[in-house]
Amino acid sequence: MKALKLFLLTVIFSFVFVTALTAQDLSLTGYARNYTGLLLNGNNDFSIIQNTFNLNIEQSKDFVAYKVNPYMYQYADRELEIGLREVYLDVYFNSVDIRIGKQQIIWGKADGVFITDIVSPKDLREFLLPDFDEIRMGINAVKLDYYINNNTFELVWIPTFTPTRYPGGNSIWQIQPEFPIEPVFDYSKQKVEQSFKNSEIFGKFSMLTSLIDLEIMGAYAWDDDPTMHVYKQIDPVTHTLTGLKVMPEHHRLTIGGGSFSTTLGPFVFRGEGAYYSGKGFNTTDPAIKDGVVEKDYLHYLLGTDFTVWDIHTSLQFIQERILDYNNFIYNDEVQNMGTFLAAADYLNETLHLKFFMYYDFENNASLIRPTITYDVADGFTALLGANIFTGNEGMFGRFNENDMIYTKIKYSF
């Protein structure tokens, strides 16, 4: 598989290089950006000092196109990071498009929530704070789209599994799992070996009509997040816990879902839902030796967008529900979350105010993200923002020490 990957990359790069040399319509776009964040913890610690260079090299001719998207992150306190977010080749036929290579694939109608949008794994090293094109990782895939009028059948084959990328040990975004005693981690089962049998397949039908936009999807994929299998060592005499071994392992999932979007007067109504079969959850049931039980799981969203007093507003309600639940399961049976967005433009659309919030109903916690962006000149923007975490528990409350203000100075070309 490595040889195949190397071969494909060599072919793509050779094609790009040769074509670029002879091309007259080569498109070079991208941006340079400084992102500086300051923690509001009283110590004036920088949460991030990052300089980014992102380049999009694109070219098309007749029925063939390609894109190469190298990026570079330079940090004050970390090693230089250079990578390729996307490198792919497009081939266009009359009613079929084929894309081969490293690519980001985005599905669904939800904003800021991942329900059917599960093809590209997430880079969560900075939690959910980066721009979404930086959260979604490119994956090596073959994507085929077949078009009939405004209907699209899409098939994605991912030969090699890529998991979620998590923060490192020193990161303020790392989540420390809670155990009664210090565990020993065994990562021997975490890696999904590269083989045809372990590849992933995703399919989607989408239609775009005057009445409604619709997507129906299905997948046979790996859970991007590993399940923690926990093996307990119990003293046979005292029956006390003497040791814990934790083995992270990715589970196979069968997923079916869909999404819709339609308008009614000034309102846009959106919905998205997915049924996950075989998702692993931690349980305290003493009869289960590895502390994991597989349950089916439902994740869905309803939302609306509208404009009031020239303020573009969006509301979303999201629910996660574990089916066939029992009280041994560590997670809550139902988790409810909401999002709220308000955005407005002023000064001939040179000044942009935005307020976005996630709200975790179960833990009474939230992430509040206000921003002010000013377009200094065409392509040159300055942003001042804040990330405020409220509450003490849950996915937002646990970061309540990480409140920060930040600036982003960006030049696009």
Partner: protein, 259 residues
């Protein structure tokens, strides 16, 4: 940005043709402007130059395609400049049925996602310019009460001067006054008055030409006198009746862009 879309072309194509000897009402004149034939399809490059009170200029460039299939007119726009909105696309389906709202979608390349948006805010400004969607031609003549004020020459052209007062008292303009060339049915100049009756802005047609028997306005200038902000709008590389296929106005093309 979601508004960054449509109707520019309609404005550019808007004209009128009436027989000078007929005695027309104000509404009939405005209907002729609105319904003037503009071909079955058109592609063009649109450039907008936004000029602030201090003289700073910002430039927006768009490639647009329009096709009229009888009961529905479809448009798709691809944003080229500024760089931070490049590859954004916008699609609008507009229906002859006055009861049916337009359908609109926007493709945001950073999100790699097509979003359906509401077409309800036609009084919103287009891409930070001084044109609202209604200014760009989406306002139907029946929405206003029209009166012929006088006939006079403007720039050497015989014109009707028409006063239009919105039937909806809450509309953003209290009235507009338009100078319409009699034999070409082009609105040569238009004055806009705000909700308080104060003079707000003026539209001047700077250039127009005949392409394939259609009068096409190729350059306009909207001057907001209250904000001292101006927008120059130019159409270039205009191609009419080339047979743009229906497949141009699809999800596939929104994502693919100008490739």
């Amino acid at each position: 940005m979601k508004k960054a879309v449509l109707l520019i072309a309609i404005l550019m194509l808007t004209g009128i043709t009436v027989h000078a000897q007929e005695k027309l009402t104000g509404l009939e004149i405005m209907k002729k402007v609105y319904n003037r034939p503009t071909g079955n399809d058109m592609e063009a490059n649109l450039t907008m130059i936004l000029i602030s009170s201090s003289g700073n200029e910002r430039v927006r460039e768009i490639k647009q395609y329009i096709k009229d299939s009888g009961d529905v007119e479809k448009k798709i726009m691809f944003f080229i400049k500024p760089a931070d909105v490049r590859n954004t696309s916008f699609m609008n389906w507009s229906y002859d049925d006055p009861k049916k709202d337009d359908d609109q979608w926007i493709y945001l390349p950073a999100l790699k996602k097509i979003k359906r948006i509401s077409s309800d805010s036609k009084g919103d400004y287009f891409m930070g310019s001084d044109f609202t969607y209604d200014d760009l031609g989406d306002r139907k003549p029946e929405e206003d009460t029209h009166k012929i004020l006088r006939e006079e020459k403007l720039n050497g052209e015989d014109c009707y001067v028409i006063e239009s007062i919105p039937k909806d008292e809450d509309y953003m303009y209290s009235k507009t006054v338009t100078w319409i060339i009699k034999d070409k049915w082009i609105g040569l100049k238009k004055e806009f008055y705000d909700e308080d009756g104060e003079y707000l802005k003026i539209l001047n047609i700077k250039d127009y030409k005949k392409i394939k028997d259609y009068w096409i306005i190729t350059q306009t200038e909207m001057d907001n006198v209250q904000k001292n902000h101006k927008t120059v709008m130019k159409l270039s590389n205009i191609k009419i009746d080339t047979g743009i296929p229906d497949s141009k106005f699809t999800e596939r093309m929104m994502k693919r862009g100008l490739k």
